[in-house]
């Protein structure tokens, strides 16, 4: 289908109005432009967020507000978001990260979208503009249910994890620029040597980023030891719906999940 227009709104309000009128969102273009280049763009009207003023990062009182059109490179460079740097650097290449956006990452197909896995683990929320005004939704709900036609994610609000509570690990075929086989992101708070609370999100092992609820249950009240994490990793096999692709098989992803869940917390063996 021929592209009829690429709108380049210069304000968030105009962007939201164009999306409400039926335009589809183009964040950095890293997903949409391959379709456009090959004549396979499924929508005739695209709305680019590049100039819509949705690329600010504001940090206050333990929360980072990140505009949907903020690039992955901008997150990588932001001093208050250093804990996300290893995750961002595990995504694509520097040149692609100069274009790819936070908002776009929420909507890419697995096994991509490692930042969305992080946002799920962090219990982030989305600010969504729609025909009825602004609403707030958990990233978990947006990943599960999507957003309605005519809506636009304008920003994410990210609770910043306390020092030493953030964990991230991604297994991939190459050290750089490769999609996920298993991605693990977690916030774990320990008290008296045992897990007081934990949120674990997994990527690469289901059609969308998923919480590892069974693994979380297996960890609460226990220390983060090799054996306990192995048990939690085996429990996490009930949390996943893995798929075969060119990177790994269902069998392989299921087999190695406990190893990588453990490495997320304890590092390489």
């Amino acid at each position: 289908m021929t592209v009829r227009a690429v709108h380049v709104p210069e304000s968030a309000e105009t962007a939201a109005a164009l999306v409400a009128a039926g335009g589809r969102v183009m964040g950095g273009g890293t997903v949409v432009m391959p379709l456009v280049n090959n004549g396979g763009a499924i929508e005739p009207e695209w709305v680019s967020l590049r100039r819509a003023g949705l690329d600010a990062i504001r940090v206050s009182e333990g929360t980072a507000g990140i505009g949907a059109a903020t690039t992955l490179s901008a997150i990588e460079a932001h001093p208050a978001l250093g804990f996300l740097r290893p995750a961002v650097r595990s995504i694509a290449s520097p040149a692609v990260r100069n274009l790819a956006t936070v908002g776009g990452n929420l909507f890419v197909a697995q096994p991509y979208g490692d930042l969305a896995v992080c946002l799920l683990a962090l219990d982030a929320t989305c600010e969504i503009a729609g025909p009825g005004g602004l609403r707030v939704a958990a990233v978990a709900d947006v990943l599960t249910a999507g957003i309605a036609a005519g809506e636009l994610v304008q920003a994410v609000q990210v609770p910043l994890p306390g020092g030493g509570t953030w964990y991230y690990h991604k297994a991939m075929r190459r050290r750089l620029n490769s999609a996920s086989i298993v991605t693990v992101a977690a916030v774990a708070v320990l008290a008296s040597g045992v897990v007081a609370s934990v949120r674990i999100a997994l990527g690469g092992v289901a059609p969308r980023p998923v919480r590892a609820a069974a693994a979380e249950r297996a960890l609460v009240g226990r220390p983060l030891t090799h054996d306990v994490l192995d048990e939690a990793g085996r429990a996490a096999r009930t949390d996943i719906e893995p798929f075969d692709d060119a990177y790994a098989s269902v069998w392989y992803r299921t087999r190695v999940l406990p190893v990588h869940l453990r490495r997320a917390f304890l590092g390489p063996d």
């Binding site: 391959p34 650097r89 290449s93």
Partner: protein
């Protein structure tokens, strides 16, 4: 579909051209402006051979809808040796035999230029990361990495040119 007149500052010269909706920066450079150093490889952002710099940053030009960067500053390989003399990266690629078939070279050099501007003394790991989106199907990565490291050394010891200081 309504085509638009788009203007960009390409290699320090203001250029105007007509773009159809959804045209990539790569198409504009090659088909409208006749700048063919950036190559059309995969058209998906996966091979890196179309890498150029937009407002200083390396990007795969096939992934940029050109009307979204109206007024932006674009540098292609043609703009690196504007005065006809190869810069440190280019001469280092020649001297280190870092070019085989040449199809990846323009993208590799632009990725290297962006790296060296922000990180003038890169480690080998920094170089590998900087070109991690650039595929060389001759698999000549060893000499490419060596060339970029050598370019950094050359630039560090070169007499600063007036142009570079001004930039």
């Amino acid at each position: 579909m309504a085509s638009k007149i788009v203007s960009l500052v390409v290699n320090a010269t203001e250029r105007e051209f007509i773009a159809r909706p959804g045209d990539s920066l790569l198409s504009a450079l090659r088909d409208s402006l006749g700048l063919t150093a950036a190559k059309r490889g995969c058209a998906q952002g996966g091979c890196g051979t179309c890498t150029v710099r937009v407002d200083g940053r390396a990007v795969p030009s096939c992934l940029v809808a050109v009307e979204t960067i109206e007024g932006g500053a674009v540098q292609t390989l043609e703009g690196v040796a504007a005065d006809g003399e190869l810069d440190e990266v280019q001469s280092s690629f020649v001297d280190n035999f870092a070019t085989q078939c040449g199809f990846c070279t323009a993208g590799m050099i632009m990725a290297a230029e962006a790296l060296l501007e922000t990180n003038p003394d890169p480690s080998e790991a920094d170089v590998a990361e900087a070109i991690s989106g650039n595929v060389c199907r001759c698999t000549g990565y060893r000499s490419i990495v060596n060339a970029i490291l050598d370019a950094a050394r050359r630039r560090a010891t070169a007499t600063p040119s007036i142009e570079r200081v001004a930039r």
